[in-house]
Symmetry: C2
Subunit: 345 residues, 2 copies
DNA sequence: GCGGTTTTCCGAAACGTTTCGGAAGACTCG
DNA sequence: CGAGTCTTCCGAAACGTTTCGGAAAACCGC
């Protein structure tokens, strides 16, 4: 019950292992008839080349695996966006004959360890970076190693690699939606700004509203940095809405924060959208299930995941990193959490 | 910039490669002083053993990877439970120094291909089977190959392997909860019964209600097989609630079906829970976000995921399959979708 | 100081593959 | 027919590790 080896095939085919190897690898110094013969023999002997021996011979051989290191944060609190992202990455990777290799850092402090380990042991061909920081040691590390990767979210200082993120123009539609409803005082609930995506979203929001503020159509928006999760949104919105002269609309930079805001409103006896409008970002599945259903910027997880892999594959093939920034266009989904601004009190 | 090899270390340490190898592997025929010396030299030379060469020598060496094949179904429709399950599996695998290897079948018809490929190429040490069928070819295949695996959900006919599922006793609490509220006519929305978990849930439900039916406390429940998703629940509940003499409570065998049921109720102008009570299963994150918030059987994804890996690891170590059935105990979370039965009309 | 044991070491072979360099045979062309 | 060129083949070495069998060195008791 031991594995069929190249030598076995050679013996059976009456050839040297050299020729069998070259026949199977379709080299051009073996007769077509021979190739055919070898292939048939190999097939009927159920020959499977030993990957390890092959890689020992040629260490540059691909593993067919893409590494994804899951941040401990995501392990503790479920991130609904992440599951879909993962699924779509697996699907797209499958299209290219590749798999995903998921790992997690053994201790939180040693961020680079899983990457180093995977590279040293040549276990993956490239990485997808998630939860990328504005100043992310992983980027420098991989850039330095010359190891192919693509990042979801773009660190500001570095250069020479590929990333995917949402188009900064996305908030334009949000602002005009709110303007159309008569809102003038807006607050923004942001994610921790050390994360590239979070910083990018906040910058996009500010970019979109700035001209309107200058034109006097909007007050200077209140920015509050919350966390990632519903509880963070709840806490932040609670204080925000209890302060004097509260905003009439709150733009949360992810849906969970928006959910927290909805809860805060209920707590304080405010009706959404009559007293306060709420906008989210991501359009996770529950966004249309909450009450009131959430107006939010739809960002397709499957599109992001597909794009990440699509960007990575050529990098893996050329074994290099090239500069590229792909932006996907989120679209505003208007539901029931936004409405006309309440009359000035 | 080429890798440091054993020979390099041997040269530097003034020993043979044999002794260096044995020193690093802590064999007992090498002097302690030598071991120490070799270790120091290896460390300062930054020596990393070549995994491929090692595995070529000893093919039984572990890869440190656990295979998970994602069903195409899950790729197309997002399954909120699945993301959390995956996260917890990665976390638990990490505890044991292992990673997850995610792949997807190239064509739907060829269910076994990814498993076969992974085994032939010795890419994983074991598998976690998800979306296991009542009659699942993968189980027979892996059993036949003697390849370690653990299944989420238990096929009925086979034996001699490990599985994890929800305890069948779970529905007892649901039934008594509903009984306490005065319900007598119950319907059940089931998932497609070819799936082991689905069949198991339905059987558990029927087991729990049977004695009450015999005692005349409940009518014979109406069972409807729907799909997995909200739309399926919507369609099934719509017809169910439009029929004469409709149930006063609907037990959906997963939360998405329950969400669909809530929508159907709204469509038909029924108020939940005044006109109809709804119970779900899983307690996915959105269950407490919908309106009314969903009474449901909480099944901890992280517990399931952890248990699956925990069961698998010893199997991998012994390279065998043993019979085992771990049951986790779901707990009823009462929220606002259940209430007293409406008065007899 | 000598046979016998224990400790410590090493050379060579092996794992399964690919490639290097060369060689045998067939074919071409003058 | 002979030199030259293609085509088709093969032996041997190599990749980096571990193990097998044995051998040198050290130690023991007498």
């Amino acid at each position: 019950m031991t594995r069929v080896t190249l030598k076995d095939v050679a013996l059976e085919a009456g050839l040297s292992t050299t020729q069998v190897s070259r026949a199977l690898n379709d080299h051009n110094d073996v007769a077509n008839a021979t190739k055919e013969h070898v292939r048939r023999v190999a097939a009927e002997m159920n020959y499977v080349p030993n990957l390890d021996a092959r890689r020992l011979q040629d260490p540059a051989l691909r593993t067919g695996s893409i590494g994804v290191v899951i941040p401990t944060e995501t392990l503790r609190f479920s991130d609904p966006f992440f599951g879909d992202l993962l699924s779509s990455m697996v699907a797209e990777a499958g299209e290219h004959g590749m798999q995903l290799r998921l790992s997690t850092p053994p201790i939180e402090t040693d961020v680079l360890a899983p990457y180093d380990e995977s590279i040293r042991h040549m276990r993956v061909d490239g990485f997808v970076l998630v939860r990328t920081l504005v100043d992310d040691p992983r980027v420098d590390f991989l850039l330095d190693r010359g190891f192919p990767f693509v990042s979801f979210g773009r660190p500001e200082s570095s250069d020479g690699f590929s990333s995917v993120d949402a188009s900064p123009g996305a908030f334009g539609t949000v602002i005009s939606h709110l303007k159309g409803l008569g809102h003038r005082r807006i607050a923004c609930l942001a994610e921790p700004p050390q994360f590239a995506i979070a910083a990018h979203r906040l910058a996009s929001f500010q970019l979109a509203i700035a001209p309107h503020v200058r034109a006097g159509l909007f007050c200077e928006p209140t920015i509050r940095v919350a966390g990632f999760h519903e509880d963070d949104g709840l806490a932040a919105a609670r204080t925000l809405l209890s302060e004097p002269n509260p905003p009439t609309a709150i733009v949360a930079l992810n849906d969970l924060l928006a959910f927290g805001t909805l809860h805060a409103a209920v707590e304080l006896g405010l009706v959404v959208p009559d007293d306060i409008s709420v906008v989210g970002f991501d359009d996770i599945a529950s966004a249309r299930l909450v009450t009131p259903s959430l107006t939010t910027l739809h960002q397709s997880a499957s599109e992001v995941g597909g794009l990440l892999i699509e960007e990575l594959v050529p990098l893996i093939e050329s074994n290099s990193n090239t500069n590229s920034e792909r932006l996907i266009e989120p679209s505003l989904v208007v539901r029931n959490s936004t409405g006309p601004a309440p009359r000035r009190s």
